[in-house]
Amino acid sequence: MATVTALRRLACCALLLAGPAAGQDLLGHGGPVGALAVQDGAALSGAFDTRSILWDMHSGAAQLVQRFHEGNVTAVAFLPDNRLATGGQDGRIAVWQVEAREPLFATPHGVAPVAALSLAPGGAALAAGFRDGRIALLDLDGFTLTDVQAHQGRLTGLGYLPDARLVSAGEDLRLAVHDGGLQLVARADLPDLPNALTISEGRVAVVFAEGALRLYSPEGALLPERFLTDRPLIAVAAHRGTVAAAAIDGTVWLLEGADLAQRVMVSAGQGPVWSLALDDRALLTGGGDGTIRRWSIATGERLGRADTPAPDDYDDGSRGAEVWRACAVCHSLDPGDNNRAGPTLHAIFGRPIGTEPGYDYSQALRDLDIIWSPRTVAELFEHGPEAYTPGSRMPEQRLPDPRDRAALVEFLERQAH
């Protein structure tokens, strides 16, 4: 049984953004949005910037920003009794009381990232699928945890059937059906690599890397299938007779749940669409650009602004800007609350290491004695973070060519002030 241990990392703050127009984009994440859920006028998202955000769907405002996981927030779920759940790249499952500053409960670090979360009918348990093929069942009253090895290799999707059986898909090309006690009760072989799974009116909807969306009966029998594209499908969601599927090129299909007849096709225009959520009125798409967009499920029309400015457009055509592109995945150059997976680099030169307000630095970084300057930034990329800032969470990055290091430093001198 996992118990709550000391929670080292959390940032919980109110209202990041104010959004007057119903239907506008949800802006606040600083990296690809990989997890989405909607319920009763609220949305919950998780992203590469290590944050989960609870949104008011009416105003478009971020009501609650939680920063707890070390790494990507990979799965989110609404729970009963005003509670939320998040799962992360750190393998942890956290249960939150809405508006609390710390999780009510969190599992210890895991050996594999959480791939999916699904709430059992009745709300008594939360199932979590992991990228090493395990499924864990968390009792939401006593917070006891049991798990089984459900797949060989990565688990790619998880969902509860209305009768409380749990369905999962994995890269072992298997669809597995478990009872409430995680006993395997049915199994079916899949023709290709499944990338995500959802439950649509008692049937299992699975999207595949070959571009197909297939429906299966709870016993694993193949029902209608539809080849939507020749590009991999990576996300699927369903709500009351509507199924949505998304591909890596940002195309999203809205289909009839019964026969997969196409209702609408949308080009989200935000890079790969990594996550989807549906309610009675709107489709939400979580994109590679860090924005969450909203679309009418009836017409596919975009709800809200169509001219969202691209954040961090610093491309001045220089070699330094080219090198910066890799940094921009984790760092912003904007002032204010613009920390992502890494801190904002606005006004970096002259700043002592580990001191940007609002960013939860690792202890290893806080213990270092470095003042960021053109010389120390160049040294960081000459030797790499593993040698220069050992123990930090920054992925190992080196620029072996001194011209690239000089170009990056010159770019930062121009743009990061």
């Binding site: 070390e70 890269e171 072989d189 890397a209 890799a326």
Partner: protein, 198 residues
């Protein structure tokens, strides 16, 4: 230049896992990572088939399309490689890959992201050919030695073929005509946008 491809003849694969072992040994692939794996569908049932899966070096590689730091590149032989100095270990390529190819080292703490590792078609990486650093980061570079990937070379039933796409497709066609059946070149439509017509 040749257009290098893999072809797995699922009617011949006997799930011996020699390809997996050969790959792991040749490249000294770290613990927890298999660049190649064998998946069996309909296990123990009529119609059972096994497929040896790894990076197929796709024509329009989805991994490259979603990589936020553009660490992928395609060689003159049409092999899809990546630069580990640029990779940030974000994992998005693994969601996009139709073949489950990208692998990540199992870290004690996932807050530290490891670099992605995958099949290189035995052709190293962006470092100098046959250099020590190339071997340490990416494994052996058999193509630079004029050899084909070891997984296919080791395959006892020649289920796994590697080489120029036109040549291995001809070999497969001839087999299907001779034996009178063939379940298709697994993954070819997804990877290369075409099938092997017989």
């Amino acid at each position: 230049m040749a257009r290098m491809k893999f072809l797995c003849d699922a009617d011949r694969c006997i799930e011996c896992n020699a390809c997996v072992t050969a790959c792991k040994n040749e490249h000294e692939v770290p613990w927890g990572i298999n660049r190649r794996r064998v998946v069996t569908i309909n296990d123990g049932l009529p119609g059972e088939r096994s497929v040896s899966m790894a990076c197929m070096h796709c024509t329009d590689a989805p991994c490259a399309a979603v990589c936020p730091v553009s660490c992928f590149y395609t060689t003159a032989d049409a092999v899809v490689l990546h630069n580990k100095d640029t990779c940030i270990g974000c994992g998005y390529c693994s969601y996009a890959c139709p073949f489950g190819a990208p692998q990540y080292p199992q870290m004690a703490n996932f807050g530290t992201r490891g670099k992605m590792d995958k099949c290189t078609y035995c052709s190293g990486g962006p470092e100098a050919d046959l250099s020590t650093v190339e071997y340490q980061k990416y494994g052996a570079n058999r193509l630079a030695e004029g050899k084909l990937p070891l997984c296919a070379e080791m395959c006892s039933t020649k289920a796994l073929l590697a080489g120029d796409g036109d040549i291995i497709a001809d070999i497969y066609r001839e087999r299907v005509v001779t034996r009178g059946y063939g379940s298709g070149a697994w993954g070819w439509r997804t990877a290369y946008g075409e099938t092997v017509s017989v």
